[in-house]
């Protein structure tokens, strides 16, 4: 029985769909499979990408500001050149000495004021030697302001032993270096940096041992307080780079260009420094979008073809309805609604199947140690968007059949 207040189009659309049971079930299944594929694939891709990006970015900043490279220029230039004569100067590439970013405090303050920027951390990094007994190892000494830098690279998370509380005479080293030198937390290391006259050395205490997940990095990376690095590397008060994180990692390149334009300091985003990786990620995104588009298209054609058949099957009913005084607009809405309802029902079911698939996948696909391969994000936005898009697709797909239904000549329809 018709419930009070129910609109004409709803009542008739639902009843027609219920009457054409098998057709309705088939097309809903078709839509559901399409939507399930889209939901499952999108979540998988999003999880995979965010996992990749997290791995790439967890050990580095989104944008790195570097001092300008030293450039060699021939001395005789411009006015000094003899007119009519070309000079073929042989220019040797200059040595890149460790330099500080000019006015880095002003630059850092300027960047920090940009709305897209999250964290700005000064870094003084250079090469050094660690000496213990007769063993010597080359290391990269990274001087950091812990409270800022740990917001960019979460060393706390990677710490195996000790603590990340970096004081003036403390050093954090990797597991590999610790085992090569046979040291642990509390042991002292002799660090030498620079050469010749500028050579400096000091004794530092290991306060923590970390694991970056990479053997080379665990051997070479060490972290000390900014001031310690500055004095060891001969950069008093200076920094060799500024690490920056931004809100939207994909906009890093744009922000890097803005920084370069505003400050005149060379700035490289993770996108340029990991160009190949980024190309792979964006190719994947493009492929994903293309697949989604074509699955959506085939769902739309499925709905349109089923409705076209329904219009033919129901042409007699349409004629009767028109004879009863039902308007063309009502007939149009009646069939649009059927398309929308089919798509909505299909996408609800499809979202459910997709979500189930994701849960199952998360249970089955595991690392060797039993932890999930990576965390899948069940983004409610994804499901919302899938429902909305599918329903819109249904409405659009229903448009052509609905219009042909509305244009049906009642005389022909009834006679037929």
């Amino acid at each position: 029985m018709f419930s009070t207040g129910a609109p004409f189009e709803w009542i008739v659309a639902l009843r027609f769909l219920r009457e054409g049971r098998l057709q309705t079930v088939f097309i809903i299944a078709g839509v559901a499979i399409g939507v399930a594929v889209i939901v499952f694939m999108s979540a998988l891709m999003a999880g995979l990408q965010s996992n990749f990006i997290r791995r790439v970015l967890s050990a580095s900043a989104h944008i790195e500001l570097l001092p300008p490279k030293e450039v060699a220029r021939p001395l005789r230039q411009g006015a000094m050149a003899v007119p009519g004569e070309l000079e073929g100067a042989i220019v040797q590439a200059p040595l890149q000495r460790l330099k500080s970013i000019d006015q880095w405090q002003a630059v850092a303050a300027q960047i920090e004021a940009m709305p897209q920027v999250l964290v700005v951390a000064p870094v003084a990094a250079g090469s050094a030697l660690v000496v213990r007994g007769s063993a010597t190892r080359a290391i990269t000494l990274t001087g950091i302001a812990p409270e800022l830098y740990f917001q960019i690279v979460d060393l706390q998370d990677k710490l195996v032993r000790g603590s990340t509380r970096l004081l003036g005479s403390d050093i954090l080293i990797g597991t590999e270096l610790a085992s090569e030198l046979g040291v642990g937390v509390g042991d002292k290391l002799h660090i030498t940096a620079g050469a010749g006259d500028s050579a400096a050395s000091t004794l530092l205490t290991i306060c923590g041992v970390f694991d970056l997940g990479n053997k080379g990095a665990n051997l070479r990376s060490t972290y000390v307080a900014l001031r310690t690095a500055q004095s060891l590397l001969g950069l008093p008060g200076g920094v060799s780079s500024i690490a920056v994180t931004v809100r939207d990692v994909y906009a890093a390149e744009t922000v890097a260009r803005q920084i370069a334009a505003a400050t005149g300091v060379q700035s490289d985003s993770w996108i340029t420094t990991n160009a190949q990786f980024f190309t792979a990620v964006s190719a994947q995104t493009t492929a994903n979008t293309a697949i989604r588009f074509f699955v959506g298209l085939s769902v739309a054609f499925g709905i349109a073809s089923v409705l076209a058949v329904v219009v033919v099957q129901k042409s007699r009913e349409i004629g009767i309805l028109r004879a009863m005084g039902i308007s063309r607009a009502q007939i149009l809405r009646l069939f649009l609604l059927q398309g929308g309802l089919l798509a909505l029902a299909g996408s609800l079911l499809g979202s459910g199947i997709g979500a189930m698939g994701l849960v199952l996948w998360q249970r089955l696909a595991k690392n060797a140690d039993g932890t999930p391969l990576f965390a899948l994000v069940m983004d409610p936005q994804l499901f919302g968007a899938a429902l909305l898009l599918a329903t819109l697709t249904g409405l659009v797909a229903a448009f052509a059949p609905a219009r042909s239904a509305a244009r049906l000549d009642p005389v022909v329809a009834i006679r037929g």
Partner: protein, 220 residues
């Protein structure tokens, strides 16, 4: 109606004129039989009077309203409110019950379901004597029953004009008599004008007036 003509395929070499200038006035409350051999244009005439089809030329007034210049939307509204149809093949919508079929024109006109529709539809179903079957799906009723439901439905909007295109055409004599009696009853009780197409000379004789269509012209 004045000088009503209907031609198909106008302007093409095989243009065929079905109705050749009919002049006809049907008074309010009249019960007219429309008779004539098959293919004479009876159904075309009924479709035009019922505003389902437009005349090629000529004018048509329904309930005092000139229809020639109305657009499709206005025609649909006029048709919905003033004209009821009963077809030969009882054309009910099989996805709905008898009662729901009777409610359908009211639902379409109002746009939304309300309890008053149900009450009126139940009363109409009762007046054609089918209360016991009102919740059966239309497809499960017998031919005579379906035709009675169709009559109840055609009266749902309280039309001034009822067009019946051979409603008794494929019913047995008893059912045909019942259907005819119902039409007559509503004609006398509610003053509904009825145009009743039939091949049955006996039934035609029981009408107030007989219009005979032969080869697209009126005789008699």
């Amino acid at each position: 109606m004045r000088g009503l003509r209907k031609a198909y395929n106008v302007g093409l070499p095989f243009e065929t004129e079905v109705l050749h200038g009919l002049d006809l006035t049907v008074l309010r409350g009249e019960f007219c039989a429309v008779v004539g051999p098959s293919g004479s244009g009876k159904s075309t005439l009924l479709n035009i009077v019922g505003l389902l089809d437009r005349p090629t030329s000529g004018t048509l007034e329904v309930c005092g309203e000139a229809t020639t210049r109305l657009d499709d939307q206005a025609l649909t509204r006029l048709r919905g409110h003033s004209i009821g149809f009963v077809f030969q093949y009882h054309h009910l919508i099989t996805a709905f019950t008898a009662l729901e079929n009777v409610m359908m024109p009211m639902l379409g006109a109002a746009g939304f379901a309300n309890p008053a529709m149900r009450v009126r539809a139940a009363a109409l179903i009762a007046s054609v004597g089918l209360t016991a079957w009102q919740d059966n799906l239309a497809g499960n009723l017998s031919g005579g029953q379906q035709q009675r439901v169709a009559i109840a439905r055609s009266l749902a909007m309280g039309p001034a004009l009822l067009l019946a295109d051979e409603p008794t055409g494929n019913l047995d004599t008893k059912s045909a008599d019942e259907v005819f009696a119902l039409l007559r009853q509503f004609n006398s009780e509610q003053g509904t004008t009825v145009l009743f197409v039939t091949h049955n000379a006996e039934l035609a004789g029981r009408c107030d007036k007989t219009i005979e269509v032969i080869d697209g012209r009126l005789t008699g």
